[in-house]
Amino acid sequence: MIFSIDRADLLRSLNHVQSVVERRNTIPILANVKMVVANGVLSLSTTDMDLEINESVVAQIEKDGATTAPAVTLHDIVRKFPEGSVVKITLDSSGNFMTVEAGRSNFRLSCLPVEDFPQLGQDELPTGFSIPATDLRALIDRTKFAMSTEETRYYLNGIYLHSTESNGVAVLRAVATDGHRLAQFDMPLPEGAQDMPEIIVPRKAIGEIRKLIDEAADTINISLSKNKIQFAFDHVVLTTKLIDGTFPDYTRVIPVGNDKIIEVDPKIFTDAIDRVSTISDGKSRALKITLNGKTMTLSANSPEAGSATEDIEVSSDITDIEIGFNARYLLDITSLVDGEGCRISLADSASPTIIQDTGDSSSLYVIMPLRV
């Protein structure tokens, strides 16, 4: 295996694939990137056994071949080469070492045989559809904050995707919850997704795919089965196993009879929460909201730091309700509401509260109050 490649091209691709590699591994080869050179392309893959990412990049190839080399080290080396340099990589005849050269620098890295590199397995992915990158970005951004990190309820550690109907329109719906808040996002059901199984995409894959599609082309091709989902765009293919579990019946926790409606400018609301919650430190995260007709009072109290209040104008006719929220949770949600108005639907101070964008019914957020 002998090839040359522009530093910038190699660095961008390595950058994409190396973040899948876990820093601490019990299986040494999982720290490596698989490099296959054939048909004029260099293809790079990494995996953590659950998630696999593959990227192809054009290179000047002298001799085909394949090997695996330490991903993080290789990435660091290429990163430190001067800009504009050409990197030449040569695998020695024994297959145990690979030289990486640029200008007058020369590195020798030990390699592991490519045959030992684990494969996720090529099963059938019967469902296939494509969605615009902007929609996928929105879908992830609007829901990922609510994913759980708790190990015991592993089925909450991801985004639940399924096809359903909303007001008679077929939609692809994403839901995430950690038991304290819930986020739901609907988008028109893409062609070909009608019969898709209900799936839970794990949080690590969500994080990786979100990073990659920042600079992605217009359309993302998605194919999936009951066990796997694959995202393909440009020269990148990301495949991940799905969480093997049943997502709880989330519709039960979305309240229907919340009749106390408040509308507020989301920007003003977010800024006010942000300011007032400065006072709630690590021990206390409570933000109290008191409603009195057109005035909403936000207050926070910390025995150490002191207290804060701020009044903002809202449109509502509710008086005498007092409700507490975790300021962090509230901020996560209101900062996502980017329309003209933010609608808050309350029942009482101990029941779940709904927050929505008045002009955009695609997202819906549920938050459980704090009892203080």
Binding site: T149, E150, E151, T152, T177, G179, H180, R181, L182, P248, R252, V253, G282, K283, S284, R285, A286, P303, E304, G324, N326, A350, P352, V366, M368, P369, L370, R371, V372
Partner: protein, 603 residues
């Protein structure tokens, strides 16, 4: 007819199986008899761990000839005068011990009743009584048991080694001796004196402390907090060790109920709750506690060996112990145990010894050139080393009058900071070395706790979108639900959910992401089962506070000015429990001037 009455000797052997399980039990029965007989001296002599010989001699009231014969009959006793099992004021009452022991060993009893001039002896071997014979014996009674268990070979086979049986006997004697400081005790094992405690003649409280010191050790007596509390007719007295005095097991926790040594798991739980967050979970405090309460409120007739008792209201007793311990710790908690400074002194002295014994460093070659120069050269070098400034120690002087004022405080005036970690302070009586990180951590932690307490009365609690359903045994559900109000104050909201589950509706905000409800509830349930009370949730919340305190406190390695150091010392004096960090390690050690002088051999 298939059913027949068992012969007497068999009945006695069966009873013996319950009452006398090992030599220590026989010793306990005999010593208790002596105590009940009003003895002021009790001499115990055992051989081979009590297997071949147990002899207990007292100077109590003794028995006359008729009593001597009667005492070997089943359920014959001089105690329990008003035949009321609810009012037991003696250690024994069952009338079972003597015939039981007699049934399984070769027992001889010599006695001389007070105010009479005859002494009698009787023997019983494997349950066969001899006629009483006149003998000579001073006032009191001697019981000698030879070949215990010879009539029940199965039991004999299952006895432990001599050494193990001996330590069980010793433990028994210690427990009884702790409860009766006015009685002199002596225990001989294989002819060697192992315990020798003269009867104490001072007032009750002091003699208790004296006895405690003799038995558990001076360390304990010197570092014991006095416990005295009373609630609803239940009186608690005794001694508990300072939090910095702790052990690796619960062996040195003694509980006495109406003078009777008992082993009750209530004590362990109460001790743990009392010492909560001044002691690491795997360390055990030391304590000797005496509970006295009306005989009607406690049932001692639970087990033939009488090491268990049942309280009419265990919650009150537990609450009393916990609050008394906490109160004492609050009051004394700014102190560290003197064992800590003794340990430090021990280390210093060791080092000194080593230095003296170490061979002299070879002198530099030039110093050898003239005779006598060698030692001179050495000396010069040594003293130079002493005067060389220690690079990481630094000291600053604050204005003198201020320092003078600081000197009068218990922790004195800060003089220097060593290794950016330890504050050295001068007090009127000596010096104090403070671990700045541990001390500040405790201060911050105590502040957090105080804020928590005064705060809003209850802790913030995050509601759950869908309640967490936790399946439990139906027997524990009612117990944990009975605690629901207490748990709610700490932010954990639970409700009943069907007959074999509970629903967690809300979790304390502080524990979010740190505890999983399933495991938390299971742990709390286990705790209720074991101790009948819940401290686990509070402990967990405190643990989170403690981590926050750790992050929010002055680290080792931070340079402090004299003013900062003095401020830290003053805060420590005002903060309860500042004598130890959250894990029971001392935050400071104190060396008195005399101790320092003794290091230098100046007295």
């Amino acid at each position: 007819m298939f059913i027949r009455h068992l012969p007497d000797h068999l009945v006695n052997q069966i009873a013996a199986g319950e009452v006398i399980e090992r030599p220590a039990a026989a010793v306990k029965e005999l010593v208790e008899n002596s105590i009940d007989a009003g003895a002021t001296r009790i001499d115990i002599d055992i051989r081979e761990g009590g297997k071949s010989l147990i002899s207990v001699r007292d100077n109590g009231q003794g028995m006359d000839k008729d009593d001597l014969v009667a005492c070997l009959d089943r359920h014959a006793t001089s105690k329990l005068l008003n035949d009321d099992l609810l009012a037991i004021d003696t250690l024994g009452f069952r009338g079972e011990a003597m015939p039981s022991i007699g049934a399984i060993s070769r027992l001889s009893l010599s006695t001389h009743a007070k105010h009479r001039d005859d002494a009698w002896e009787i023997t019983i071997e494997g349950g066969v009584k001899s006629e009483p014979l006149p003998t000579s014996h001073p006032e009191g009674t001697t019981v000698t048991i030879k070949d215990l268990f010879f009539a029940t070979p199965a039991r004999l086979k299952f006895l432990k080694s001599d050494q193990a049986e001996y330590s069980a006997v010793k433990d028994t004697v210690i427990r009884l001796a702790l409860a009766s400081p006015h009685i002199g005790f002596r225990l001989m094992n294989n002819g060697k004196n192992v315990i020798s405690l003269p009867p104490s003649e001072v007032a009750l409280f002091e003699c208790q402390l004296e006895r405690v010191g003799q038995i558990i050790g001076r360390d304990f007596a010197d570092n014991a907090m006095m416990i005295e509390a009373e609630r609803e007719g239940i009186k608690l007295t005794g001694f508990a060790g300072l939090p910095t005095l702790h052990r690796g097991n619960a062996q040195h926790q003694y509980l006495f109920v109406n003078g009777r040594p008992v082993k009750d798991k209530l004590l362990g739980g109460a001790m743990r709750a009392g010492y909560m967050d001044v002691l690491a979970r795997d360390r055990y405090p030391m304590a000797v506690l005496f509970v006295s309460l009306s005989q009607k409120d406690v049932d001692v007739n639970v087990h033939p060996a009488k090491t268990e008792v049942r309280f009419k209201d265990p919650a009150i007793v537990r609450g009393l112990i916990v609050s008394a311990l906490r109160h004492a710790i609050q009051k004394e908690g700014h102190q560290t145990s003197s064992t800590v400074s003794h340990y430090a002194l021990g280390r210093l002295q060791q080092n000194k010894q080593e230095q003296m014994n170490s061979p002299q460093a070879p002198a530099l070659p030039w110093a050898r050139s003239s005779s006598g120069g060698s030692s001179y050269g050495n000396l010069a070098e040594k003293s130079y080393a002493f005067y060389e400034p220690v690079p990481s120690a630094r000291h600053e002087y604050a204005p003198d009058d201020q320092q003078q004022e600081h000197l009068t405080h218990p922790l004195g005036a800060a003089r220097a900071q060593l290794h950016e970690c330890y504050i050295v302070a001068q007090t009127e009586k000596g010096m104090v070395v403070v671990d700045q990180h541990a001390a500040h951590e405790r201060l911050v932690y105590e502040k957090f706790k105080a804020q928590m307490e005064e705060g809003k009365g209850c802790i913030e609690s995050q509601g759950l979108l869908s309640p967490e359903i936790i399946t439990l045994e139906d027997t524990v559900i009612s117990k944990i639900l009975a605690q629901a109000d207490n748990l709610k104050k700490l932010g954990l909201v639970i409700e009943s959910f069907g007959k074999d589950a509970i629903a967690v509706q809300a979790m304390p905000v502080l524990l979010l992401g740190k505890a999983n409800p399933q495991k938390l509830i299971q742990d709390l349930v286990d705790e209720i089962e074991e101790h009948g009370d819940i401290t686990g949730l509070e402990e967990r919340i405190n643990a989170v506070l403690s981590t926050m305190a750790c992050h929010g406190s002055v680290r080792s390695g931070r340079r402090l000015t004299i003013e900062e150091m003095n401020a830290l010392l003053r805060q420590m004096e005002q903060t309860p429990l500042s004598g130890q960090c959250n894990h029971g390690r001392p935050t400071y050690i104190e060396l008195s001037l005399t101790e320092i002088e003794s290091l230098f051999g100046r007295h």
